[in-house]
Amino acid sequence: MQATLPGLNRTGATASAEGTQAMTDAVNELMPPVPIDTGAAEAERLQYIQDSEAVGSIPPPIGLDGKAKAALGRLKGGAPGLLMDKVGERIAFERTGVRLYEALLAKYGATAQRAGEVLPPAEKVHEVAHAQGMAVLAPVLGESPAETLQRLRSEELEHFRLLCTAMQELGGDPTAQTPCADVAGTASMGLMQVLTDPRTTLAQCLNAMLSAELTDNAGWELLIQLAEQNGQSELAGRFLGALAQEQEHLVTIRGWLATLLTEGAGTPAV
């Protein structure tokens, strides 16, 4: 584990000034630049997009019991499939989120072993947020950063299970990979790579986690809206509880990242 420090980064043009100048000379001599035109590539991509089939289909409702039938019957707006697709997406995201938090816990633990406590308690970063007028759930008082991270992981797991129950009530299969779940999974792959790379610092991991939590928050907001539109007010209410927790997650993660970036330059955590 090492701090990110100035050193011999070879990637920029100035790191190889002579070679880069030789390359520029080669371009000017052998293939002088012309006006940029990526039209052919765009046209090709457009053709593929137009010819493509969907990623997949939304699983049909499974053998509905009375409760599920009633729930499905209340769905209005012609988009019950879309609601199930987006519930499926949140299921996948929360499930992956649990694993991302496990990776973050590992990174935090390793950092703490090397450098001692590097994160302030969550309640401290929330003071800053409250001072800025942000109204979010208060964190648990007296909680250590390790305990906070564990709780955040547990809450992602609770969200996952909440969503599985919701999916069943809608008549869906919580184990199915819906199209939006699949696409969200693809989008999340980069986050997993960052969190599990032994070389990335705690700050770099918090940065990746910030992307996850921002997406998570937006996802919950949209899901609540979709549930309301589909006449699922009770479900929307349950989702609101999860959103409140996700808002707290976001403030915590962002606050920790800000702390490390402003106070931790040159330390193993950054």
Partner: protein
């Protein structure tokens, strides 16, 4: 439609041309296509690449008239492989594709083990089957604990996900990977089975070697290093079944027959109409390749095709369907088997050098044990059974 290898001419070689657009078509749907469509794609990609590989090696050992013909055949095999492999959609994460690879290994090997007329070689298929079966369990654990995904989204209920002969016991000293090859009078089925599995395992190995270093997670990197090594053992295991006394041109002919046989099976059993049409097109291509290979064989070696192909009928096809019951029987009765030279023995009789080798490679721990410790497949992932609020 019963193919006859001596009569069906297929598409002439000079008409076997594809454009990049032909090769880069629409991928299958990870969500909607049947798992066995993916199995067939993975298998046939492996066979095309093995056909290409074998011809590349042949060109290093051949002079004269064979070389231009081999070069021409290889170009088509390359483009066929591209077309087939590019059917796998980009929403398959590397581990999800890996799950597909292991399911392919399990179901195809299980089917072959039941078809194989030679009891010794049938044992060979059952032996490696149990190892690929365990790999599926280990990779499924990794998919769950690293990506938070359920391997059954890929396997679709066809294949059990439980441990078998634990991967840590797959590591054998090299001499114990070898099998006795089939003899010159082996049935055509025997030859095609061995070629099929050799090609399949080779591609599996190459795939793991390519994607292993792409993972950031050190446990994923270790697991792929470990299982890629076992897959390389499996290439030796199956490859050593092949008769080393077959001439290069005999091997060329058998390679083309193997492709014909497998494409015919794929065509017969494929449910996706677009992919089915591709299997039909490539079956005709391979019949064309076979014609070219037979001409070369007959002209160069002055031997009759019927010597290899008998009456031209194809052996019974691999069954692309769940072999669950057979696999369970093998898991219950043969997990304790090991190798001693080319023999299959009880674990107490295992070749001593394997124990030493295993101790060395597992000296820093066993990635396959670590990744899957306490893991059981659960619908919707392990997190479905973790107590909430724990």
């Amino acid at each position: 439609m019963a193919i006859n290898l001596l009569k069906d001419k297929g598409t002439p070689l000079q008409r076997q041309r594809m454009s990049w657009k032909d090769m880069v078509g629409k991928p299958i749907s990870k969500l909607d296509d049947d798992a066995f469509t993916r199995v067939r794609i993975i298998l046939m990609n492996g066979l095309e690449l093995d056909s290409l590989r074998t011809k590349q090696v042949a060109i290093r050992c051949q002079d004269g008239t064979a070389r231009p013909m081999l070069a021409e055949l290889m170009r088509v095999e390359q483009h066929q492989a591209t077309t087939i492999n590019w059917l796998i959609g980009p929403d398959h994460s590397p581990i999800e594709t890996t799950i597909g690879y292991e399911q392919t290994a399990i179901e195809v090997t299980a089917s072959v083990a039941q078809l194989e007329p030679d009891p010794y070689l049938a044992q060979g298929y059952r032996y490696a089957l149990l190892e690929d079966f365990d790999h599926l369990y280990r990779y499924s654990a990794l998919l769950d604990r690293l990506e938070g995904k359920d391997a059954n989204n890929i396997t679709q209920g066809y294949t059990d996900i439980v441990p078998a002969r634990a991967t840590l016991f797959h590591h054998r000293a090299p001499e114990h990977d070898l099998l006795e090859p089939y003899g010159p009078d082996a049935e055509l089925a025997t030859k095609l089975h061995a070629l099929t599995l050799t090609g399949g395992e080779y591609q599996t190995h190459d795939y793991y070697m390519n994607i292993g270093p792409v993972f950031a997670d050190p446990l994923a990197r270790q697991l792929y290093a470990e299982i890629a090594s076992v897959e390389s053992q499996h290439i030796t295991h199956y490859g050593s079944m092949l008769n080393p006394n077959e001439s290069p041109l005999e091997k060329l002919v058998l390679g083309e027959v193997c492709e014909v046989w497998n494409y015919a099976a794929c065509l017969e059993q494929e449910g996706n109409p677009r992919v089915k049409a591709l299997w039909e097109q490539f079956l005709d291509y391979e019949l064309g390749h076979l014609q070219a290979a037979l001409r070369l064989f007959e002209e160069t070696e002055r031997r009759d095709a019927a010597e290899l192909l008998r009456d031209g009928r194809l052996p019974p096809f691999i069954q692309f369907s769940s072999q669950r019951e057979f696999v369970r029987q093998v898991v219950e009765s043969e997990t304790q088997l090991r190798k001693r030279g080319t023999e299959f023995v009880d674990e107490s009789q295992e070749g001593r050098s394997s124990l030493d080798y295993r101790k060395a490679v597992n000296a820093g721990g066993s990635p396959s044990e670590t990744v899957a410790a306490t893991w059981s497949w659960t619908p919707g992932t392990e997190l479905m059974r973790e107590p909430v609020g724990a």
